[in-house]
């Protein structure tokens, strides 16, 4: 399951969705809106995507993860638009027969997503400054 959504993400439902009798392990990663980055305080956060390409890249991630690990079910959701502090911006949920693969696949997907999926984060800091962040392309 691949999705980009402007609505709040029900991460528990997503986790449930990837459960399977064939799986011995479910690993769910949540990215959430952090208030403090170093000593800078975030007051607002907004995500923008290039939706066609982002969905395509996310589908490629799913295919590659399934090639590398014995994935049973997999879900990748990214939220875009304006988010509040603490809200879930991204969910990666993976089920595998064993926990090692579930952890590895989940970690690889979120790390690679940050590198290749064209989704940008705009921070609005407490001092009023704004900044576009695309972590994967950081120097």
């Amino acid at each position: 399951m691949i999705e980009i959504t402007e609505s709040a993400i029900d991460h528990a439902a997503i986790t449930d969705r990837v459960r399977s009798n064939r799986a011995g392990a479910v690993c769910t990663f949540l990215g959430t809106v952090r208030e403090l980055t170093g000593d800078r305080r975030t007051v607002a956060l907004s995500y923008e995507s290039y939706p066609e390409m982002a969905l395509r890249k996310m589908a490629e991630l799913e295919a590659e993860a399934r090639r590398r690990w014995p994935v049973i079910e997999l879900a990748i959701l990214h939220r875009i638009g304006d988010l509040d502090l603490g809200e879930v911006s991204v969910v990666v949920a993976v089920s595998c027969p064993h926990r090692g693969d579930a952890f590895d696949a989940c970690r690889w997907i979120i790390d690679t997503l940050k590198e290749v999926v064209p989704i940008w984060k705009q921070e609005t800091w407490e001092d009023g400054g704004t900044e576009w962040i695309h972590p994967g392309l950081a120097p």
Binding site: G31, T32, R34, T37, G38, E48, S49, Y50, E52, M53, R56, K57, S89, V90, I110, K114, V116, P118, W120, Q122, E123, E131, W132, I133, H134, P135, L137, A138, P139
Partner: protein, 284 residues
């Protein structure tokens, strides 16, 4: 009354062949320029060909065939302004023109729509000098009120028309146009013009900081067809200087895939600029 002057006595030394006779879409360049001026609203078009030499007769014939009046100089004009003076002398009888359109004969992009537009704009800017401008570069034809044009005769011998225009800088109105109206001096100029004229217009989607800097989510650029991602980068940097720091570092996506500089772009390619970070954290 509107008159056009086309000084066409140059020797095409850098083109390696008589450039005014190079055929563009089946018409010699000089004939094309004359036709564009006529069709765009010039009542009289005066062409000054070379005084002599192997191409003089052919240039004169092509201009006549396109409907121009041809004034053959007795001695080869040393400078373009000498040709312009000659044409002005021919036009300086009643009824004198109100406006002079001035263009060299080697502007392959000149078309009647542009001339028509300049003539229309001149009505909105009486007494002013109009200059078509593309991406900050001035092109041709310039539109001179007769009262200003006649002062070409008063210019010191060693200075050109540009001096006259500069002397009236406060009366210039720049008219933005969508295609380069430059003259062509070398085969490379001509190739470049052909590729622009026969090229393609592509849309490039912008995101995040690129979108903010450009103030819009999509920009349009002209490219040769086919082009490469490197061509696109150059075109973006030329056309949108505000985007420069971003374009230099941005990845380009072609058909939703990251593409290297050698990747080919066609008219149907879906293009996007994927800007880099503006700095910051490496965490989720």
């Amino acid at each position: 009354m509107i008159a056009a002057i086309v000084p066409a006595a140059g020797r095409s030394t850098r083109m390696g062949q008589p450039k005014l006779l190079i055929e563009i879409e089946g018409t010699p360049m000089i004939g094309r320029v004359v036709a564009a001026l006529h069709d765009g609203g010039a009542d009289r078009v005066v062409v000054v060909p070379p005084a002599d030499g192997p191409d003089a007769a052919a240039i004169a014939a092509a201009a006549l065939a396109a409907g121009a009046e041809v004034v053959v100089p007795e001695v080869q004009p040393a400078e373009m302004r000498d040709s312009v003076e000659l044409a002005l002398a021919v036009l300086d009888v009643d009824p004198r023109p109100d406006l002079i359109l001035l263009t060299p004969g080697d502007v392959p992009g000149l078309h009647a729509d542009l001339v028509d537009r300049l003539v229309g704009e001149s009505a909105a800017h009486p007494g002013r000098i109009l200059v078509p401008t593309h991406e900050g570069r001035r092109g041709h034809p310039i539109v001179l009120p007769w009262e200003i044009a006649v002062h070409v005769r008063d210019l010191p011998e060693d200075v050109g028309i540009n001096r006259l225009v500069e002397a009236h800088a406060d009366q210039i109105v720049e008219i933005p146009v969508d295609l380069e109206m430059d003259d062509v001096d070398t085969p490379a100029d001509l190739d470049r013009w052909r590729s622009l004229a026969t090229g393609m217009t592509v849309q490039v989607r912008l995101f995040a900081i690129a979108r903010e800097k450009a103030g819009r989510s999509e920009i349009e650029v002209n490219l040769p067809d086919p082009a490469t991602v490197a061509d696109l980068r150059r075109a973006l940097a030329d056309r949108f200087p505000d985007l420069d720091s971003v374009t230099l570092g941005a990845m380009i996506a072609v058909d939703e895939e990251y593409a290297g500089d050698a990747a080919i772009i066609g008219p149907a390619s879906r293009l996007a600029m994927i800007p880099p970070v503006s700095g910051g954290s490496d965490e989720a």
